[in-house]
């Protein structure tokens, strides 16, 4: 086995414990609630918020990570007709990229892509809400940024043929959202749009289920 470097799971900001599953790269602090991403052999602080369920349900839920990236993009079309049609599409302000490991996302429906397409705007939850499990993030911020242009292109392509389109996008803000999910056993239902995904498609679910509520 190659030489291992040990990194204490302690928050550099407050000294609290960091919670996450075995193969996560972003861990949430149990004390101050700030996500910390593994960057080389230290932690880098990220902005994190827990979203309020838009579809409230009485039962317990946990939070799965979704990157929210505020984007500004410029489209250059070689066809004025296509450009005119594309201008009718509402602008995408936030691109969401799932932060948890989902198996065969294209088949089961990538929550990040669906949130982006539906122009979801997440609002932070009330601080007085009871503590819940917050899952760590398996996708780093840089890895999430790789999905910005494909997500925007996919959404435009569903309305206008993107042949000849030159797209350039820049990310101005990145927030790691904890999106509420309700565990129905065989399926998980998100608390924002009410979409269901098979529980078995979430790679780290058994570890998440065994965690205790932290925030």
């Amino acid at each position: 086995m190659p030489q291992a470097t040990m990194l204490p799971l302690r928050c550099p900001r407050c000294g609290g414990g960091l919670a996450g599953a075995s193969h996560d790269v972003v861990f949430w602090c149990e004390g101050c609630g700030v996500p910390q991403e593994v960057a080389g052999t230290c932690f880098a602080e990220r902005t994190g918020k827990l979203a309020r369920p838009a579809v409230p349900r009485g039962d317990e839920h946990f939070y799965l990570p979704v990157w929210g990236l505020r984007v500004a993009y410029v489209c250059q079309w070689d066809d004025p007709e296509k450009e005119a049609r594309a201008k009718l599409l509402p602008t995408i302000e936030w691109v969401y990229v799932s932060g948890f490991a989902i198996h065969n996302a294209a088949y089961y429906g990538d929550p990040g892509l669906i949130f982006t397409e539906r122009r979801v705007v997440l609002t932070p939850r009330d601080a007085r809400e009871p503590a819940a499990v917050v899952a760590g993030c398996a996708r780093s911020q840089e890895e999430a940024k790789a999905f910005v242009e494909p997500h925007v292109l996919t959404i435009i392509d569903r309305r206008v043929d993107v042949t000849g389109l030159e797209l350039s996008a820049s990310v101005s803000e990145a927030i790691l959202w904890g999106v509420p999910y309700f565990d129905d056993g065989e399926t998980l239902q998100d608390g924002i749009l009410g979409l269901k995904i098979p529980a078995a498609a979430i790679t780290e679910l058994s570890e998440i289920r065994s965690c205790r509520p932290t925030r």
Binding site: A4, M6, S22, A106, A146, F147, D157, T163
Partner: protein, 373 residues
């Protein structure tokens, strides 16, 4: 089990890391630590959906099926059920981006119901096909699964993990804790590198206008549960491998029905005697008839030659039967309720092994003969 010992960065105590472990708690200071190991392959265990008792029942049902010797059907009992984990590589990634797709074609042909339409149809035939160009945006997952060791060595031939991972309801994965797994199962170590699967992932036909790229290339090790049920028949152990996820029989060995073996041997001997005896008898009886004085000699020599050749043939057949039925296990691959001896690769393998054994013995005999002074 290989353990790596590293010093705790908080208290200096010794931390023991099992293979594949990434999170570790120090038993001295209680601090949790993350092990950063370059090129470490994440490991997961596939959830065991079939309990030990269920696996025992499936194996017991197998013994009751027709084709097994009567003693096995009536008195065969599974004595022991053990769990093992078989390693598989799962190589994946996500291809994202856009590519240009050129398609050439014609509009739908008109249906020639009347003469006017027929002219239209002729014009349609002469019309050249038009080429259209469109851009396709893709966000597509790539997935390949392959065994990380030789499956036949572990008592199974084929495990359909790739189909299960691609299925509408994928198999659930669990965290890999080698210490915990080894308490209840035998965990086989990977013996093959994932090179072939990784190379396949990177292979791509170059096309013009391809602006796609593979992101999040990943290699994982998945450990698949297999139950091994053991039973004995006339002092010899046999095994039934039961899929720990689907509950099907992956591979099973059972003694062959002795009556069938005897019948087969008798038929072979009869066929041999019929094919060989008649021409020899005809040959020597014709010699006796031609020269009456030498006929007796010819007959005696014929009898001796017949005895030697016939005895040799009988001995060869006896040796063949002994080799074939000495280990009377009949490897049967189960597909649902169907038992198809001879159709499955395991049995073909045993046939090949048998041919190899004959060849090996012949070569050994030749070698021995060559060494003699």
């Amino acid at each position: 089990m290989s353990l790596t010992h590293v010093g705790c960065p908080s208290c200096g105590g010794t931390l023991s890391l099992a293979e594949g472990q990434r999170l570790v708690t120090c038993r001295y200071c209680g601090g949790r630590h993350l092990a950063l190991i370059p090129d470490a392959v994440p490991r997961y265990a596939v959830h065991v959906a079939v309990a030990a008792e269920e696996a025992r029942r499936i194996a017991q049902d197998f013994l009751r099926r027709p084709g097994r010797p009567r003693a096995v059907r009536e008195r065969g009992r599974v004595q022991d059920v053990r769990l093992s984990y078989v390693p598989f590589y799962e190589v994946g990634g996500t291809r994202i981006g856009a590519f240009v797709l050129r398609e050439s074609g014609k509009p739908r042909p008109p249906t020639p119901d009347n003469p006017d339409d027929e002219r239209d149809f002729e014009q349609w035939l002469l019309q050249p096909s038009t080429e259209t160009q469109g851009t396709r945006v893709i966000e597509q997952d790539y997935l390949r699964v392959g065994p990380a060791c030789d499956l036949p060595e572990l008592g199974v031939d084929r495990i359909p993990l790739e189909q299960l991972r691609r299925a509408a309801t994928p198999v659930a994965l669990e965290g890999y804790d080698l210490v915990e797994l080894q308490k209840r199962a035998v965990v086989f170590a990977p013996t093959k590198p994932p090179n072939r699967l990784v190379d396949e992932r990177e292979r791509r036909i170059a096309v013009r206008g391809d602006r796609t790229g593979m992101v999040e290339r990943r290699v994982r090790l998945l450990y698949y549960p297999v139950w091994h049920a053991r039973y004995e028949y006339r002092g010899r152990p046999f095994e039934v491998a039961v899929d720990g996820v689907q509950g099907t029989i992956l591979r099973a060995s059972a003694p062959r029905d002795f009556c069938r073996a005897v019948m087969l041997a008798v038929i072979l001997l009869a066929a041999g005697a019929f094919c060989f005896g008649r021409p020899v008898r005809a040959l020597f009886s014709s010699a006796r008839a031609a020269t009456p004085t030498d006929g007796w000699l010819a007959g005696a020599w014929g009898a001796v030659a017949g005895l030697v050749l016939g005895g040799g043939l009988a001995l060869f057949l006896a040796w063949l039967a002994w080799t074939a039925f000495r280990h009377t296990d009949d490897v049967v691959l189960m597909d649902g309720d169907e038992v198809q001896p001879g159709a499955e690769p395991a049995l073909r393998d045993s046939g090949e092994r048998f041919a190899d054994r004959i060849l090996e013995r012949l070569l050994r005999l030749r070698g021995r003969a060559g060494k003699e002074p």
